[in-house]
């Protein structure tokens, strides 16, 4: 009996059902939707190699009708590009410049200390050691982010870090950036001038209009901070430029159904984007029971995304950052550098956190765990350990080994694998192990549902919505996108 030679080779893909259609994603994250009928034909080698479906699959390197070596090489190149963040070992270095804070926020995960407790400040000696450690990183890009407590309360150390890092960088010639996270309450002319002179970006916190912001973000005396924050955001924007000032919000049970009000406030404050962030199960957020269930968050997130899309259709240029990160992962060949959605996780390899006393953690959540008495993710201390001991030690290796979605249960076969990531610290804090339990993990469920929603929108292929998505990804106006499409 003669065996008929197959007309094509099938190359690796992962799949997921979308109603009557099937989503296929290749090893580099490129995707295609097809009918169930065509899917059966594909698997049983019944597709006609002249058919449009076959050619589309071939274009995505899911089938090959000639020697598959070339598509495999091309997939490898695209895979490398998608994982290019691995070259940036380690780019983001967070300095906990002080644990002191002039606020007492309801959801504080930093477990801040009283303003008088200067013993919780990072000393110049520790800061110097931390900067020395930062410059041992092979990454050509270095971002030093100052966090607290409240960073302005130990501004002398901030100034030292900036000056010393710039001095060292004279020899290293890396792309060096600084960001300061601050509640802006202590902003004054001297600080503002310094931020301008050294091109330091400001990241502040704004939870929405007064009625949503003030109950969450109070001074230690219990008074609201909205008026002061609003005033100082404007001052900082005027001095540093709108693009150099950003804000973050935290979604709590109090504002989860009022996210459109938060968006409106951000637009009033001249921001061009918002990051609708979930609350993390650390610090005071747990005690205050500020959380919500996954369904509630996702339902409201979708509503707000829809609201933002409608604003864009009405001519307001405004984006949602989490959606933008995921859309970039889905629609472009590039990596995003967003440490929370990486495989392996960004913990330690993309981001490291230096405590006020020189302890080095794989993430800020790891530092929180330490504050709660669990040093599971403490990599070492700048005063006691060498770079190799910290960044090539047991803690970072174990964390990375256990955060590759490629071999985690459920994730290993998920079609969204290339767009998603793992959070070993959160898994550990919730379940007690680094791998976690996907079916009941809120991190997994929220990401799955948001990615699926965005995929549904992409599948609909509405020209206006796609133009909005591309404007978010490329940071250009919708009119520019339309013009570039018209050629």
């Amino acid at each position: 009996m003669m065996i008929k030679r197959r007309a094509y080779t099938i190359l690796p893909y992962r799949f997921m059902r979308f109603g009557k259609d099937i989503l296929l994603v290749n090893e580099a994250g490129e995707f295609i939707f097809m009918s169930e009928n065509d899917f059966v034909k594909l698997r049983t080698y019944q597709l006609d190699i002249k058919d449009e479906t076959f050619l589309n699959l071939k274009n995505k390197h899911i089938v090959a009708d000639t020697d598959p070596t070339l598509p495999i090489y091309l997939l490898a190149t695209k895979y490398r590009t998608k994982k290019s963040y691995l070259n940036d070992f380690t780019a983001l270095h967070i300095f906990i410049i002080s644990l002191r804070c002039n606020q007492k926020c309801r959801y504080c995960q930093a477990s801040s200390e009283d303003e008088t407790r200067t013993d919780y400040d990072m000393s110049i000696k520790t800061a110097k050691k931390c900067v020395d450690m930062v410059f041992k990183s092979p990454s050509p890009n270095i971002k030093i982010e100052f966090q607290g407590g409240e960073s302005f309360l130990n501004f002398e150390t901030v100034k030292f870090v900036v000056q010393y890092a710039k001095q060292l960088n004279g020899a290293y010639q890396k792309n060096l950036e600084f960001v300061i996270c601050t509640n802006l309450l202590g902003l004054n002319e001297e600080i503002l001038n310094y931020l301008e002179e050294h091109k330091i970006c400001v990241s502040t916190s704004l939870d929405g209009p007064r009625n949503l912001h003030d109950p969450n973000r109070m001074t230690r005396k219990g008074t609201g901070t909205y008026d002061m924050v609003r005033k100082n955001i404007q001052i900082a924007q005027d001095k540093l430029g709108i693009e150099r000032v950003s804000a973050l919000m935290v979604t709590t049970r109090d504002n989860v159904d009022k996210l459109n009000d938060v968006v409106a406030e951000y637009i009033n404050q001249r921001f061009h984007s918002i990051f609708v962030r979930t609350i993390h199960p650390f610090g005071r957020a747990v005690k205050e029971k500020l959380g919500y269930d996954v369904e509630t968050f996702v339902k409201n997130y979708k509503n707000t995304l829809d609201y933002i899309i409608r604003l864009n259709l009405d001519g307001v240029s405004f984006s949602e950052q989490y959606a933008t990160i995921i859309l970039k992962k889905i629609l472009t060949p590039f990596a995003t550098g967003f440490v929370d959605l990486q495989s392996p996780a960004g913990t330690g390899i993309s981001c490291a956190v230096y405590g006020y006393n020189g302890d080095v953690f794989v993430s800020d959540e790891a530092r929180m765990l330490s504050k709660m008495g669990d040093n599971r993710f403490l990599m070492g201390n700048v005063h006691k350990n060498k770079y190799q001991e910290i960044f090539n030690g047991k803690v970072i290796r174990e964390t990375i080994d256990n955060s590759c979605v490629e071999n985690m249960p459920l994730c290993s076969e998920c079609a969204f694998q290339m767009y998603c990531g793992a959070d070993p610290v959160r898994n550990y804090s919730v379940r007690g192990d680094l791998i976690g339990h996907r079916p009941t993990s809120e991190f997994h469920q929220i990401n799955y549902l948001i990615i699926r929603h965005l995929m549904e929108l992409i599948k609909q292929n509405d020209a206006d919505i796609m133009n909005i998505f591309w404007s978010w990804i490329t940071n250009r106006s919708i009119e520019e996108i339309r013009r570039s499409k018209r050629g």
Binding site: L11, P12, L75, A76, E413, P439
Partner: protein
């Protein structure tokens, strides 16, 4: 088969791989308590007890069977693709040797 407040599904191991059945049970752990037992050498018995009363048993049963088919396809895909996947990752992170680089430059 729906039995009171439980769903009993008998999986024929001549059709489905054991690992496909296990993976399907894993997926349903958010909705159901799951128990597994071999009924015979070729039959795998799964009992699903929904965690919430509001969940529709016929719907869960249907979803489970759909998921089982998908998991079986994934198991078959794994066999088909695992070597190529390794090859892609290996190639992606392969250091370029000096000799290779010289050849590339000449080209």
């Amino acid at each position: 088969m729906i039995d009171g407040n439980k769903i009993v599904i008998k999986i024929d191991l001549a059709i489905y791989a054991r690992i496909a059945a296990l993976k399907t049970c894993y997926v349903f752990q958010d909705k159901c308590h799951t128990s597994l037992e071999p009924e015979s050498e070729s039959i795998f018995k799964v009992t699903l007890t929904p965690k919430k009363e509001s969940l529709s048993l016929p719907e869960i049963e249907k979803e489970f069977m759909d998921e089982l088919i998908d998991q079986q396809i994934r198991v078959e895909n794994d066999k088909l693709f695992s070597d190529i996947r390794k090859m892609i990752v290996e190639q992606a992170f392969k250091p370029i040797s000096f000799a290779e680089l010289k050849t590339k430059i000449r080209k």
